[in-house]
C-alpha cells in the first residue's frame, strides 16, 4: 500500500512546525528533560457496587509520562485498566487525586486526548468514512478536506474499499481498525488505546503494530496502550506498567530499551515478555482466588 513518505496526512504532520520538537522523541536524549506530558498524582477511583460495597478499582496511582512516550499497561481482567484510560480521557472523574496534562488539571474530554474504547463505540447510524471523519466534522473542518484526510487513515488500516459500508456490515477486526482510523484522524497529542488489536488476526495485527510504531515515531504522539498480551506490550512499549488486582496499583514498571523497529518474534521481545508474564501470573492467580472466594461465600 502507500509508503510512509507518500502519505499525505503523515506528511502534513512532518511539515507542521508546531510538532517539531516532539517529532523524533527517541533521537533527543541530549536535550534537557522535558516536563511530563501527562502526570497522574495519587489517582484513586472507587465504584459503588449493587450490593452497596465500595469497590476500589484504582488506588493511589502515580505516573509520569514523557511527551512522545509509548507506555503499555498490562494487568489481570478487572484490575482497572479501562477505568484508568477513562480518567485520563476526562470521561470520568477520579475519586481522589488529579490528572495533569501539560501541567494543567484535566476536567473533561478534549480532542487532544482521544480514547479508543474497548467496546469501540462506533456510530451505527454513520458509514465507515463518516465515523472516521466525525471528529474533524465536529471541529468544523470543511467536507472536502476532512474526506481527504479520513480516506488516508482508512487506507492506512486497509479499509479503503469499505468507506461506504455501515458498521454492522464489518467484522470485529475491521471495526477495531475503523476505531483506530477514527482516533488517528483527529490527530491527537495523546492517544489512549484500550486493547485495540484484541480481535485481529496475527498478520493484520503485525501490520498494524508496524503502522502504529511508524505513526508514533513520525508524529511524536504520546500513547498509552492497554493490552492483556504481554508480548504486544514488550513489542510496542518504551515502558510497561503492571497493575495489581483489586485495588489496582502499579506493581512494577519495566523499561524496555530494545532497539526499534521491533518484531513480535524477536528473541529479546520474547524474553522481556516472559519476565513480565512471570509477575503478571501472580496477579492473575490472585484474581482467580478472589473469584473462588466469592463463589464460596455466595453459595
Amino acid at each position: 500500500m502507500t509508503s510512509p513518505a507518500q502519505h499525505p496526512a503523515i506528511q502534513r504532520d512532518l511539515e507542521d512546525g508546531s510538532r517539531s520538537p516532539l517529532q523524533v522523541p527517541n533521537a533527543a536524549p541530549a536535550l534537557a528533560p522535558l516536563p511530563p506530558k501527562l502526570s497522574l498524582r495519587g489517582i484513586s477511583r472507587n465504584f459503588r457496587n449493587s450490593n452497596q460495597h465500595d469497590l476500589l478499582a484504582l488506588e493511589r496511582i502515580d505516573l509520569q509520562v514523557r511527551p512522545g512516550e509509548f507506555v503499555c499497561v498490562v494487568g489481570p481482567s478487572g484490575c482497572g485498566k479501562s477505568t484508568l484510560l477513562h480518567l485520563i480521557a476526562g470521561l470520568a472523574q477520579p475519586s481522589a487525586g488529579t490528572v495533569l496534562l501539560d501541567g494543567r488539571p484535566v476536567d473533561g474530554p478534549d480532542t487532544g486526548r482521544i480514547l479508543i474504547f474497548q467496546d469501540l463505540g462506533l456510530f451505527p447510524w454513520l458509514t465507515v468514512i463518516q465515523n472516521v471523519e466525525f471528529g474533524l466534522r465536529m471541529a468544523g473542518v470543511p467536507k472536502p478536506e476532512r474526506r481527504f484526510r479520513s480516506r488516508n487513515y482508512l487506507r492506512l488500516v486497509h479499509l479503503g474499499e469499505f468507506e461506504d459500508s455501515y458498521i454492522h456490515q464489518l467484522s470485529g477486526g475491521m471495526r477495531q481498525r475503523v476505531a483506530l482510523a477514527r482516533a488517528l484522524a483527529t490527530e491527537p497529542d495523546v492517544l489512549l488505546m484500550d486493547e485495540p488489536f484484541a480481535a485481529l488476526d496475527a498478520q493484520t495485527r503485525d501490520l498494524l503494530h508496524d503502522e502504529l510504531e511508524r505513526i508514533w515515531r513520525e508524529t511524536g504522539r504520546t500513547i498509552i496502550f492497554v493490552t492483556h498480551n504481554v508480548r504486544e506490550a514488550a513489542r510496542l512499549g518504551d515502558r510497561v506498567l503492571l497493575l495489581t488486582f483489586r485495588p489496582g496499583r502499579v506493581k512494577r514498571e519495566f523499561t524496555i530499551d530494545l532497539p526499534r523497529p521491533r518484531h513480535l518474534e524477536d528473541v529479546e521481545v520474547a524474553r522481556t515478555a516472559r519476565d513480565i508474564l512471570d509477575e503478571l501470573r501472580d496477579e492473575i492467580n490472585k484474581s482467580r482466588e478472589a473469584e473462588y472466594r466469592h463463589d464460596k461465600t455466595s453459595r
Binding site: A89, F117, F123, L126, F134
Partner: protein, 254 residues
C-alpha cells in the same frame, strides 16, 4: 410477495362484489347504503369542483404544523425528563397519566381558551400526539448505550452538536415507534376536531355529507382519510424504518 398481493386483490374484489350485490338488491335506500358507483361519482365530483383538494390541503397543513410542533416539543421534553430525576418523578408521571385521556377531550378547553380558531384545533392535535413522542424520546435517551455519548464527547461534540449528531440519531430506533404512534394520534385528533367545529378540512367535509344526507360523499371522504393515513405511514415511516434497518442492521422484527 406475489401470493400476498394475489390474496389482497382477491379479498378486496370479493368485498367490492358483495357491496355491489347488496346495493343491487335495494334492501336499503342509498342514503343508508350507497352504491359503489355513487361513491365513485362523489369522489370524482369532489375532486372536480376542488372541494376535496381544498379540504386535503387545509387538513394537511394543520397536521404538518401540529405534528411538527409535537415532535419538536416531545423531543425536548423527553430529553429533559430523561436528564433529570426530579422531572422524571413529577412531569414524567403526569404525562403517563394524561395518556389515558382521549385527545378530543381537550377540545372544549381549547375552544374556551382560543375560541373557534385554528389555534384550538392545533392545540388538540398537539395534545394528541406530543405524549407519545415525549415518552419514546425519554426511554430512548435512557436505554441508549452510554458509550455513544462518551465517544461523541471524546471526539469534540458538545451541547447542541452532541444532541444533533449523537444523541438524536442514537435514540432514533427507540423514537421511531413513538413518532409513528404520535402521527396516528395526531391524524385522528385532527379529523375529530374538524368534525366538531366548522373549519374546512376533511372532518368538516364528512359532517357536510351527513347534513346533506349524502351518504356517498360520507363514504368517499372516509376512503380519502384512510388513504391519506395509509400513504403517510407507507411513505414516511416505512421509509424511515427501512433506512434504520439498513444502517443499524436491525432485523425487521426488532
Amino acid at each position: 410477495m406475489t401470493k400476498r398481493a394475489a390474496r389482497q386483490v382477491l379479498f378486496y374484489a370479493v368485498l367490492l362484489g358483495l357491496w355491489i350485490l347488496i346495493a343491487r338488491l335495494k334492501i336499503w335506500p342509498p342514503y343508508i347504503l350507497p352504491t359503489p358507483k355513487g361513491v365513485w361519482e362523489a369522489l370524482a365530483a369532489g375532486f372536480a369542483d376542488h372541494s376535496f383538494w381544498i379540504a386535503i390541503e387545509v387538513s394537511m397543513r394543520r397536521i404538518a404544523i401540529g405534528y411538527g410542533i409535537s415532535v419538536l416539543l416531545g423531543v425536548v421534553l423527553g430529553l429533559a425528563i430523561a436528564g433529570s430525576k426530579f422531572l422524571e418523578d413529577t412531569l414524567g408521571g403526569l404525562l403517563v397519566s394524561l395518556q389515558s385521556l382521549p385527545s378530543i377531550c381537550w377540545l372544549p378547553l381549547a375552544v374556551l381558551w382560543f375560541g373557534l380558531t385554528e389555534k384550538a384545533i392545533l392545540f388538540v392535535v398537539i395534545m394528541g400526539s406530543v405524549l407519545s413522542v415525549t415518552i419514546a424520546m425519554e426511554t430512548g435517551r435512557q436505554q441508549m448505550p452510554r458509550i455513544y455519548a462518551m465517544a461523541g464527547r471524546n471526539l469534540g461534540a458538545r451541547g447542541l452538536k452532541l444532541f444533533l449528531y449523537v444523541l438524536l440519531p442514537a435514540s432514533l430506533p427507540y423514537l421511531v415507534s413513538g413518532l409513528k404512534q404520535g402521527w396516528a394520534f395526531a391524524w385522528r385528533s385532527l379529523i375529530s376536531g374538524e368534525m366538531i367545529f366548522v373549519s374546512l378540512g376533511l372532518g368538516q367535509l364528512l359532517m357536510l355529507g351527513r347534513d346533506l344526507n349524502d351518504m356517498s360523499q360520507v363514504v368517499a371522504v372516509m376512503l380519502l382519510i384512510i388513504a391519506i393515513g395509509y400513504l403517510v405511514d407507507g411513505l414516511l415511516f416505512r421509509t424511515l424504518e427501512r433506512r434504520l434497518q439498513e444502517k443499524w442492521g436491525l432485523s425487521p422484527a426488532a
